[in-house]
Amino acid sequence: MDSPDTPRRRAPRTPEQERATAIAQERRQAILIRARRIRRSVAALTATLFSVAFLVIYVQLASGHDPALDANAKRTAAEKADKVSSSTNSTGTTSSSGSSAPATSTESSESVESSSASTSSEDEASTASEESSSSASAVTTSQS
């Protein structure tokens, strides 16, 4: 009786079996070669895709047409414009021109003068209205 360690004896292979094994090995080899070729093609495709995408983005960025940087530039410009317009509004809103352009020193002095003039005219108007109201009250008292 054979012990479990002793290798099993194989029957001698017939030439047909040898030929079949050789064919199977050839086919296996061919499959392995095809698989390797496919893997290489995929690696090449990956490298090409990455390179093309990199180049497109690089050129886009270098030529100043990058979407993110464009958006940033637009946002910054809009913020600047907002700041400028708000500063113009705070200094020269009562100027007769009414433009949103930043005011020069002469324009601002003029606007200050015009604003002071307007305040004086407002004062005059208020005194006039007081006078008219007093006169009105006089009228009412006279009527009564």
Binding site: R34, A35, F54
Partner: protein, 217 residues
Amino acid sequence: MTSTSILATAVGPHLFWITSRAAGIAALVLSSLSVCIGLLMGGGIVKRQRLELRVTHEALALATLGALLVHGLSLIGDSYLHPSLADVAIPFLSGYMTLWTSMGIVAFWMLAILGLSYYARTRIGVQRWRVLHRFTALAWILGIAHSLGEGTDAGQAWFLAMTGIVVVPALVLLVIRHLGSARASAGPAVTAGERRAARKLSAAAIPQPDWSDHGLA
């Protein structure tokens, strides 16, 4: 100074960012191709050249994972966002576009786990693995949503055209597959026992060759 060096100086600070964007685009294309081939194989649409398809599917999936690793890790070097490793690896941690970023991170982990589980499918159980592997399509869809929602180039015509070319065929195949499986599930339900019995019957009906005379028994 030459024009090339001027360009390099201008683009230099953004190199990590460009690398990340390019790798993301490559990953989107590769994953879409991989999903396409997987659906062609699984749906039984292509019945010949299965070996080539399987090898291509596997290689594309591995290339996708590689591109996704480059996409995430290169962002760490970006001087503008400057995220940590945790920011790019753990969902809902990054403060930048949290929802879209988290969607991308979840998609990556799903793709990695479901994709690499192929090598442990005998341990998991082939049938169970196949069911799990279907969720790869969900991860792919999450990835597309991430690229369209957060991608810097998402508004660009070339990006949308490229995405359409690779994504639409895969989506069509996915719909066909789901319609097919829905139709199959609407038919009479076959239990596992019935399937086993049918297999035994067919095995008994087909005469088995006697290999003993070839020394192969």
